[in-house]
Amino acid sequence: MNITSDIKYVGVNDHEIDLFEGQYDVPNGMAYNSYVIADEKIAVMDTVDARFGHEWLDNISAATNGKAPDYLIVQHMEPDHSANIATFLKAYPKATVVSSQKAFAMMMNFFGEEYEDRRIVVGEGSTLSLGKHTLTFVTAPMVHWPEVIVTYDAADKVLFSADGFGKFGALDADEDWACEARRYYFGIVGKYGAQVQALLKKAAALEIEKICPLHGPILTENLGYYLGLYNTWSSYGVESEGIMIAYTSVYGHTKAAVELLAEKFKSKGCPKVVVCDLAREDMAEAVEDAFRYGKLVLATTTYNADIFPFMRTFIEHLTERGYQNRTIALMENGSWAPLAAKVMRSMFENSKNITFVEPVMRLTSAMNDLTKSAIEEVSDELCKEYLARQDSTANKNDLKALFNIGYGLYVVTSNDGKKDNGLIVNTVTQVTNTPNRIAVTINKQNYSHHVIKQTGKMNINCLSVDAPFSVFEDFGFKSGRNVDKFEGWEKYRSDNGLVFLPKYINSFMSLTVEQYVDLGTHGMFICSVGEARVISDLETMTYTYYQKNVKPKPQTEGKKGFVCKVCGYVYEGDTLPDDIVCPLCKHGAADFEPIK
């Protein structure tokens, strides 16, 4: 087969192999690819598996019309590609071996020979000219062995990618590329995501029209598709929407619970549910699916105070390959002392960015009502976005959506003619830019609302992420009618005479009110921008950041009563007085909730 006018295929198909790499079931066999580049000099890319040496040498002879090749380029030393190095060099006594330093050291280990007198050692960026074709070598350490090099031919824009972009299946197998390429990738290369990313970065700088791997078909069109998949796989990203349930079941009870769970997922709108019996189905396919989807359910029985062996093997395959960035739910069975969930959870303790969904779904020999309610909770949680997208199941009145509007936090300063005042609001937005206008909305109950309506001036100070809770206590929980909020603060003034804060802000702007909009409970001031200063490079504190990192968690442990949602003040008692005013932040009963 011709790949280009000068590049010919001389590889072989293998339909005899039972387990590839000693472990993978390959029902459609394997291909060992090798290529001839026929130019003024002739180069052969890699060799083939030990059992096909003669067929391969015949292929080379046919491709070169009997002319002797000048170079054997060894990109990878794994025996399915390197086994026939000596055979080739015997057939072609004048040929030179081209490879990496590490590869020659391996040849010494494998064959007892490192060809010092008939070799060229190449490294990153080395080149070899064949005439029209100049080959450039690129190292690809740990994709998936340390000695690996890949080769770029600028003349035909071909990347010889070694094991990268390969797949299981001989070249006469008529099957989808992605499925067997994914099983191959995660099985063989899965651990080396970072190293594959490094190689993809180097490849991005090359103009590539064809990819010639050492297994699977030559890729000639739509290369963006293959590169995209490799990018997703090697960055441990989620490729497909859906949930995988991997289980072991000895007598069918765990299996029944798994089937119920799968039904729940489907009825709650999950676009794809994959169920895998780890004992009976292909383990490499199970591993492939776990990496393909973003959500995984692991269901197994407690066994010998540990977990069922196929589940242990499966999880070890995942963690060994750097499983990360995913959500996992656990189902355990135990007829006397269930601890499978604890064991499974601990197996992921060194895995990055794994979120466990609660609760654990537990069977005590068989499913019971507790199992069923846990299944309901877990399926609600894992199908949250599917339920919300589906017209028939979505909560269309979920006002919590409003909490997802993002905000910064601002200290708004003003002066009533006698003293300075300030308050904290999140409701500041730029509304136009020709000219620049900013809208600031303030609750009419705040003294600042009155002051700004009278004076028409304010400064907005953007709080940065270093602002401590005391800033919120000083400006948020007191009233400027009674108190000097700036006590203890060093005051700087901008040209308009108003205060800007000496620290904890990254910028401030002086605003002049142009329009006032009465919104009933609030007033919106639409302003032009005068003085504007950037004080620091620190990030603006968002409302979310404040809730997560600054606002202290209310000390409600062991207390009975109500807690103020605004500032955390705890009111201990059986009933909350209707007219209660929070002593810390002055908010009313509506902002209290019972302590659970």
């Binding site: 350490p141 740990m142 340390p146 080396y192």
Partner: protein, 50 residues
């Protein structure tokens, strides 16, 4: 003390450091920056063993 990258076999010798990578001789392994990567294969510190 010598540390080996478990992935590719590159050796870090504390006594020698790695001057070509900006690491002075005598730099202890635990003092290498958090984002230190094996110069051969890019593996992180967590893949090294003594």
């Amino acid at each position: 003390m010598k540390y080996v990258c478990k992935l590719c076999g590159w050796e870090y010798d504390e006594e020698l450091g790695s001057p070509e990578n900006g690491i002075a001789p005598g730099t202890k392994f635990e003092d290498l920056p958090e984002d230190f990567a094996c110069p051969l294969c890019g593996a992180g510190k967590e893949e090294f063993a003594d």
